[in-house]
């Protein structure tokens, strides 16, 4: 057996002139930006550490999660990081509006001295403090920019600064005895009792993040059927969370996740271990870093161990992904690298392979084609895969390194209106897109992929919308010599002969007719009829389903083996502001021997 590290340079170089021509065309093409009703937001800018931290104690503190309200009653004591200490009978804060109020028998201690009053309200976003002192008579004082020595006496105040929220249509989520509030970022409670259907469960501490930046919410856990998260503690830059989870493989188990985030954009690190209470453990680390204004680096590492608690593992593997992105004005260059070690312990049982791959991709933004309604996008890629133990055996050669070149383009025709433009509910919309990519490999084969879709849609009324779409995905894996040979895999011991004509080219055609009825903002129903006409034809159990991602979606969008006829009905109801019930029932028709095969999905998300 011969081992080739690289070959078929001729295949790659043959297309180099074509690459150059396309590149020149793209560079010379008019770079009109695609008209965007709302421009895509730019890179995040650095954010200051929260200017105000509030430390609150009271006989009883209540938190209303659906409205982000913190209400406190009895012996309220509030210390602020800008030097105020306030006591009073009651406290109210709207975390989203970033303002608080202390009322009744208020005592204010500040740089301006000690004062008694009826109420004090602080609008943190505006640096305005409104105070009703009671010296001999009530008065109205306004402090500007935290200057407690020079109150503006008698100045008119906004009409609602001392309003309490109406709590009659909301229910308490948890109660506590103390809280630390980082304005616009987080709240951390102590002495917590959480309420589930009016039943109190003691939790000790609980942390809620409501930052406008998602960095602290990046997660590193894989999917589960059920996940209840207890954010035990945290601050403006970290969260420690315990997860109670369930999935079909591990059943019930615990996981732990530690989030860290910097104050700059795209600065975060997330570490997790899950499941923690089973033999199979996954230790994940996700990081992100923004370097300069146009460069980002993201990493993902996953260490697998088979061990009981923290005893010596019997198996261990590690995979690492690194993604580096350099942004330009109208395009981006991205490098992706992966290294996997399947056997860190050197045991003879596990595979000794440690493959790696890398890909460099340049992608343009969507550009308008000469003032036409068409938009196009191009991309080029160059990469490799390597495994010293061999990636592919072909033509008597075991390839340990396979190089590839990718050229692709996308053309889209968005939102062409047909009909009377004065009647919104009589208009038809046509949307179409074609995406094509070709990959040349140093193993002498190329992969073509063309994905075309067109849809016709109409909004019939405020409540009803329908669309008809047709999608064709052609994938062909073509070898210069030979390729896929005819075979008839066994199904229940019987050869499945329709598969014999498969020679490496698959065609997946999908037609969808869908109607959505939005009865209200809290209730949406839809019915979806899908027909797959695929080659190779699907058969139940013949094709394995692709792996799923964190929320159970298939990682390959179009895959072989989908049932030819599907009818799906879905009802989605929002039971509470943070709780949605999704009931979905799908029927498969004429799928192999299955005439009528219902599949039922109930999903609760919050």
């Amino acid at each position: 057996m011969r081992v080739a590290r690289n070959c078929e340079n001729g295949v790659r170089l043959r297309y180099l002139p074509l690459l150059i021509v396309v590149l020149i065309l793209v560079v010379c093409a008019p770079g009109n930006a695609q008209p965007k009703p709302t421009p895509s937001p730019g890179p995040a800018e650095a954010q200051a550490i929260p200017s105000t931290v509030l430390r609150l104690r009271a006989d009883r503190i209540e938190f209303y999660y659906d409205r982000y309200l913190v209400e406190a009653y009895g012996h309220v004591r509030l210390q602020t990081s800008n030097g105020m200490t306030i006591t009073g009978d009651t406290f109210s804060m709207d975390l989203r509006l970033n303002r608080f109020l202390v009322a009744s028998h208020v005592h204010l201690r500040s740089r301006g001295g000690n004062l008694d009053g009826a109420a004090i309200a602080d609008l943190l976003d505006f640096d305005r403090i409104y105070f009703v002192p009671v010296i001999t008579k009530p008065d109205r004082w306004t402090y500007e920019n935290e200057d407690f020595t020079r109150p503006l006496r008698g100045r008119q105040m906004p009409g609602d600064v001392f309003y309490f929220p109406n709590l009659s249509h909301t229910s308490i989520s948890l109660s506590a005895t103390s809280a630390v509030i980082g304005s616009e970022r987080f709240v951390r409670f102590a002495g917590v009792r959480a309420y589930f259907s009016h039943h109190a469960v003691p939790l000790g501490t609980y942390y809620v993040s409501f930052a406008a930046r998602p960095e602290l919410s990046e997660n590193s856990l894989s999917g589960a059927n059920f996940d209840a998260t207890w954010n035990m503690t945290g601050n403006a830059n970290s969260i420690s969370a315990l997860h109670v989870r369930y999935d079909a493989y591990n059943h019930g188990y615990l996981g732990f996740e530690q989030h860290l985030a910097g104050n700059g954009p795209h600065e975060y690190a997330v570490f997790s271990i899950s499941p923690f209470t089973t033999y199979d453990k996954y230790w994940n680390l996700v990081t992100g870093e923004h370097i300069g204004s146009k460069f980002e680096i993201d990493t993902f590492q996953q260490l697998y161990t088979n061990q009981w608690w923290l005893k010596e593992p019997t198996a261990s593997a590690l995979t690492t992904y690194v993604t580096m992105t350099r942004g330009f004005n109208r395009s981006g260059l991205q490098a992706q690298l992966n290294q996997t070690n399947y056997n860190l312990l050197g045991t003879t049982v596990a595979s000794p392979n440690h493959p790696n791959w890398g890909q460099l991709t340049w992608t343009s933004a969507a550009n308008q084609a000469f003032k036409s309604p068409l938009y196009f996008q191009t991309r080029f890629g160059y990469g490799f895969s390597h495994d010293a133990y061999g990636l592919q055996y072909y033509g008597g050669v075991t390839y340990t390194t396979i190089w590839n070149e990718v050229v692709g383009f996308t053309v889209e025709l968005p939102n062409i209106k047909i009909g009377d433009r004065d009647k919104a509910y009589a208009l038809y919309y046509i949307n179409a897109a074609i995406d094509s990519a070709r990959t040349w490999n140093t193993v002498p084969h190329r992969v073509n992929e063309q994905n075309s879709s067109v849809s016709l849609s109409r909004q019939f009324s405020r409540f009803v919308n329908s669309y008809l779409s047709y999608n064709v995905l052609n994938i062909s894996d073509l070898y210069l010599q030979g390729g896929y040979g005819g075979s008839a895999p066994l199904v229940d011991g019987t050869p499945y002969t329709p598969f014999e004509s498969f020679r490496g080219a698959a065609s997946l055609r999908t037609a969808i007719l869908s109607t959505t009825y939005s009865a209200s903002t809290n209730l949406v129903t839809s019915i979806n009829f899908t027909h797959h006409d695929d080659f190779p034809a699907a058969y139940p159990g013949l094709f394995s389903v692709p792996p799923t991602n964190a929320i159970g979606q298939y990682t390959y969008a179009n895959y072989l083996g989908q049932p030819p006829w599907q009818l799906t009905g879905e009802v989605r109801a929002r039971l509470l502001p943070h709780l949605t019930l999704d009931v979905q029932r799908t029927y498969f028709f004429h799928f192999g021997d299955q005439i009528w095969s219902p599949s039922f999905v109930v999903q609760l998300s919050g």
């Binding site: 695609q34 709302t38 895509s40 995040a44 800018e45 009978d89 989203r96 009322a103 009826a118 109420a119 009703v132 109205r140 306004t142 008698g154 008119q156 600064v161 309490f164 406008a212 930046r213 998602p214 919410s217 894989s222 954009p265 980002e296 996953q302 995979t319 992904y321 992105t325 395009s331 981006g332 992706q336 996997t340 890629g381 592919q392 072909y394 692709g408 889209e412 179409a432 074609i434 995406d435 990519a437 490999n441 992929e449 994905n451 919308n465 669309y467 040979g485 005819g486 008839a488 698959a506 939005s518 839809s526 394995s544 991602n549 929320i551 979606q553 298939y554 969008a557 179009n558 998300s605």
Partner: protein, 271 residues
């Protein structure tokens, strides 16, 4: 006829006298009850008469506890502007600005003067609607155009700061090959930060040049319907040959073929 005129005149005079004698009252929510004053959430404080009567508004019996902040109450004034009766209610009263008649009774040590920050007409939106934020619930429509490489079977969600950036917090409905829609009811004045995702933060939207984006911002105003019409330039997990790289799937042995789920028993490519 004369008698009728006389009677009507008498009734009219009686009505005027009754109206003149009707005490001034206000309703609202209490901010504080202390130091001989009662304060409403308008921020106004009123002097309390020494012989004030505190009643339960529902039973009209003496209240069993003193007034507290957050109580709803109706205050009855005497001619000198002191509160002589306070009716505490468990039913919410509308919280509104004070009537002029009661405004004169509010006690302040300093003379009020206008606040220049509160002057001026409200700003208007691009379609000429006054950009006011009353807190009323209004419809908010999110419509997004996704990249053409988005799988036809994909689901699109909105992650928001209100939901702790849960990446599948708001599920959107596909309305054609390239567009998704979600409609929510939100209070005007809500400042919402959000991102479009395909269900996880590994599949969130990125800028056209591949860099991460700062969250979009929506300030909900008092218009009956607020609409956002956005374009997702690219997804974070997109790559050149459309094979979606998912780091959460492990282990992922390298497979050079584009058919990851061919049935077992299929012959591998050969010359």
């Amino acid at each position: 006829m004369t008698k009728l005129r006389t009677r009507l005149g008498a009734v009219f005079c009686a009505l005027i006298l009754l109206a003149a004698a009707a005490p001034v009252t206000i309703e609202g929510q209490l901010l504080a009850y202390q130091d001989g004053f009662v304060f409403f959430t308008t921020g106004d404080g009123f002097r309390v008469a020494p012989n004030i009567v505190i009643l339960d508004a529902q039973t009209q019996q003496r209240a069993k506890r003193p007034p507290e902040a957050r109580d709803y109450a109706r205050a009855v004034f005497n001619d000198s502007g002191q509160v002589v009766e306070l009716d505490l209610s468990t039913e919410p009263y509308p919280v509104e600005p004070l009537p002029d008649a009661a405004q004169a009774f509010a006690v302040t040590a300093s003379s009020p003067y206008p606040n220049p920050e509160l002057a001026g007409p409200p700003r208007t939106t691009s379609n000429g609607v006054a950009e006011t934020f009353s807190g009323k619930l209004v419809l908010v429509k999110f419509q997004v155009q996704v990249p053409p490489t988005t799988p036809i079977t994909a689901q699109v969600y909105i992650a928001t700061d209100v939901s702790g950036w849960n990446p599948n917090a708001i599920e959107m409905d596909r309305i054609d090959a390239l567009h998704f829609v979600a409609i929510r009811r939100m209070a005007s004045g809500t400042v919402l930060h959000y991102l479009y995702t395909r269900g996880s933060l590994q599949t969130e939207e990125v800028a056209a040049n591949g860099l991460s984006v700062r969250p979009r911002e929506l300030i909900v105003n008092d218009s009956d319907t607020n609409s956002t019409n956005s374009v997702v330039a690219a997804w974070k997990d997109a790559n050149a040959n459309n094979i979606l790289m998912q780091p959460s799937v492990f282990p992922t042995p390298y497979n050079p073929a584009p058919f990851p789920n061919l049935p077992t028993g299929t012959k591998t490519p050969h010359p």
